[in-house]
């Protein structure tokens, strides 16, 4: 099994000792070079309520056929769950040789029962990391909500769930939050004609997965707390608060030739004057790394200690992406201003600033969420928009 490379750093490597400390940290994970992509299990979760009748159903049917006939590789599989007021398995796992039966529309919209059906379907399906699982949740409306904890447990089965909001009837904020809980991204389809493109994007993303929703174990010592763990550049909230103890966090899939970045705030009750003060231990797939800070009472050394510009960029972009999701424009502007200043010493901050600014200028919330979802960082930290 190839090992991922973990790097963890703080804003500064030294801190005032015999004092409490609040600072930021960043963990980056890069898959080993030449890592093979995994076979894909694509689970379609489709809204077949009354509003989807007609154009909606025919476009979705066409899109499924396109994936099955044109895109799927021999090792890939597809399955379909449909939902309206209730949910059912429409097609069991099938490969390129199989077929998908036609869909019919009618009834209400119940997200909750759809998610329950997904969990019970995936319950009998343990890939043990050898296959990449991607669920794709499509809806054109606002339905009875699913429980957050249920959505959050989807990654436990090696699956991430992406959501697609079709037409203006969909609520992008709600669907984006579901995607975030399941470590996926939000896709935006303003009209039924855009559904085919969204399906293709999700499939192309699925083909580039090298690590299927790995678990990250974080051990925090006494006197230390981590908070606001946010995966950047998408701004995916992983955890609000981690106190002392060991925690396991599901990450999203790792994509070939990309760097996964996690920004977090650090709070230390007291920095020791002697040696290193332990902040946390990160462990992923039997690779682990310790993060610590060195204490000193030399003021001049502290003022002049260099700042880690990569940590700064990841922290600012986490703030910007989170604020963008909340619609807090003042906070986005503050974060972007800081990133612009950072661009003088870290050129990667410039490309990221440009892309986030582009997202702020999008006309609809759906577009904004989609741009955030498509942001990714290459192994050197340079940001680009995934072009599926």
């Amino acid at each position: 099994m190839p090992q991922p490379v973990l790097t963890a750093s703080l804003t500064k490597d030294v801190a005032l000792c015999n004092s409490p400390l609040k600072t930021k940290g960043a963990l980056t994970i890069v898959a080993e070079n030449n890592q093979e992509t995994l076979p894909l299990d694509l689970l379609l979760v489709l809204d077949v309520s009354g509003s989807m009748a007609g154009d909606g159903i025919s476009v979705v049917t066409d899109s499924m056929k396109h994936i099955l006939n044109d895109l799927m590789r021999p090792e890939d599989r597809i399955a379909v769950i449909t939902f309206n007021s209730s949910a059912a398995v429409h097609t069991q796992w099938t490969d390129v040789t199989g077929t998908v039966a036609p869909l019919t529309a009618g009834g209400g919209t119940n997200f909750g029962s759809a998610i329950n059906q997904v969990l019970s379907f995936l319950g009998g399906n343990d890939n043990n990391g050898s296959r990449a699982g991607v669920a794709f949740f499509l809806s054109d409306g606002q339905g009875q909500a699913a429980k957050d904890d249920n959505v959050r447990s989807i990654p436990d089965f090696g699956f991430t769930m992406h959501t697609i909001g079709v037409t203006s009837g969909a609520n992008p904020i709600h669907l984006e939050q579901m995607a975030e809980l399941a470590r996926g991204h939000y896709y935006h389809a303003p009209g039924f004609e855009d559904v085919k493109q969204a399906f293709q994007s999700v499939f192309n993303y699925g083909k580039t997965i090298v690590y299927a929703a790995p678990d990250l174990d974080i051990t925090v010592p006494d006197g230390v707390a981590l908070s606001d763990l946010i995966q950047t550049p998408q701004g995916l909230s992983l955890s609000k608060h981690l106190g002392p103890g060991t925690h396991s966090i599901s990450l999203s899939h790792m994509i070939k030739d990309t760097r996964m970045e996690i920004s977090f705030s650090v709070s230390v009750d007291n920095v020791l004057c002697e040696g290193q003060t332990m902040i946390a231990t990160f462990e992923l797939d039997q690779t682990s790394i310790h993060l610590s800070v060195r204490g000193t009472d030399d003021q001049t050394e502290l003022y002049n200690a260099p700042m880690n510009t990569d940590v700064t960029m990841i922290a600012h972009s986490a703030v910007a992406a989170t604020a963008l999701k909340k619609g807090d424009e003042a906070a986005v502007t503050r974060a972007l201003t800081k990133m612009e200043k950072l661009g003088a010493t870290n050129p990667n901050a410039n490309t990221r600033t440009t892309i986030i600014s582009q997202a702020t200028q999008a006309t609809t919330q759906g577009e904004r969420m989609e741009i955030l979802g498509k942001m990714q960082s290459d192994t050197s930290g340079k940001t680009k928009l995934r072009d599926d």
Binding site: K12, A15, K22, K24, V319, T337, K338, K341, L342, A344
Partner: protein, 361 residues
């Protein structure tokens, strides 16, 4: 200054500056905030330690004088070089010294008398207090300031010697024609024949009466032992020697050569008078085309033809007073070498002595 996040508003202090993070909300401070805090607390802007580049104004230490051993190309210096020049083989590869061979061949020739002919050539120094001195130099050997030390021994020459390179020039004599040629050995301050710089590995001819310059030191070829004329420009002391062969010998005691260049004697006198304006003015009274002398051997006697191309500026010639009035006419006379060992030609302050030397003593 307060944290700009409205949800935080923490008053920023030295602890925030030390961590570069707001200690209220842990947000990282930007460059402007850090600079403002530094000003607020009177902490100088961080400047990396200055690196001073050492100012190397010392003069470059010159390479000591050296010669490359032709066997292993090792540069021979100081003691090794002295030993090598005195005939000791190369201490690194045991290549025999050419001086050793030269000594051997000299000994061989003197022992067996198989190889007659000079291995040295006579030169006249035409600069400085020792002007007119005759000395000899070895043929086919790299020559430099050390080889001229004996003729330039007077302290007045000390600065001039510094312009000569350790290996400055080399003298060749053609076995067939006896023509003398000079090669410059890449000297720093140059080698010139009649004012033309010679460069590269090609030897250039040096005729009798031509001026050879090593930087600003002037030299002429001394005549071999046969009959010759020695011409001395009295005021400067410049001496040229001209062997008398079977062909007629023509001398021009004017300023310019037939192709418009400066005559060698004039060039040497000008160099010698450098900085002395009175002497230079007197020199300039000589016409471009002035007194011509043609000497020709006629059995035991020598005929001399004399003519003056400038009717206003005639020479006085001792014993040939008529020449003054018969300016442009050709005057031919058979002279008895015994009676006319020395002829004096005078124009103003310019006095030439033309001396007939039957055999160099």
């Amino acid at each position: 200054m307060h944290c700009p996040d409205p949800n935080c508003g923490h008053l920023l202090g030295q602890a925030d500056l030390a961590a570069s993070c707001c200690q209220g909300c842990s947000d990282i401070l930007d460059a402007t905030q850090i600079e403002d805090l530094r000003k607020q607390f009177g902490i100088a802007t961080y400047a990396p330690p200055e690196i001073t580049i050492p100012d190397k104004t010392e003069e470059v230490i010159p390479l000591p004088e050296f010669e490359h051993c032709p066997g292993c190309f090792a540069p021979l210096m100081e003691g090794d070089l002295l030993a090598w020049r005195q005939g000791t083989p190369c201490p690194f590869c045991q290549e025999p010294s050419p001086q050793q061979n030269a000594t051997d061949s000299t000994q061989a020739s003197s022992d067996s008398e198989v190889l007659p002919g000079p291995d040295t050539l006579s030169f006249i120094l035409n600069s400085g207090p020792n002007i007119g001195a005759t000395f000899s130099l070895p043929i086919g050997v790299d020559l430099g300031r050390n080889d001229l030390r004996h003729v330039l021994a007077m302290p007045e020459y000390e600065s001039k010697r510094g312009y000569l390179s350790g290996e400055h020039f080399k003298v060749y004599v053609s076995k067939e024609s006896g023509i003398v040629s000079i090669e410059d050995l890449g000297s720093k301050n140059g080698t010139y024949i009649n004012g033309v710089k010679i460069v590269g590995p090609v030897p250039r001819e040096l005729a009798y009466g031509d001026v050879l310059n090593l930087h600003d030191l002037s030299f002429c070829l001394g005549s071999p032992s046969s009959q010759f004329l020695r011409v001395t420009h009295k005021s400067s002391g410049v001496v040229t020697e001209h062997p008398l062969f079977d062909a007629p010998l023509r001398l021009h005691l004017g300023r310019h050569t037939s192709d418009g260049g400066r005559e060698a004697w004039f060039r040497m006198a000008q160099t010698e008078f450098f900085g002395n304006s009175d002497a230079l003015d007197a020199l300039d009274t000589i016409s471009r085309r002035h007194l011509f002398l043609v000497f020709e051997r006629k059995e035991d006697q020598i005929s001399v033809s004399i003519w003056n191309e400038d009717d206003k500026m005639a020479f006085d010639v001792e014993g040939f007073e008529d020449l003054v009035s018969t300016s442009t006419s050709v005057f031919t006379h058979l002279i008895d070498p015994d009676a006319h060992k020395s002829m004096i030609f005078t124009y103003g302050k310019n006095v030439f002595e033309v001396e007939y030397v039957p055999v160099r003593t």
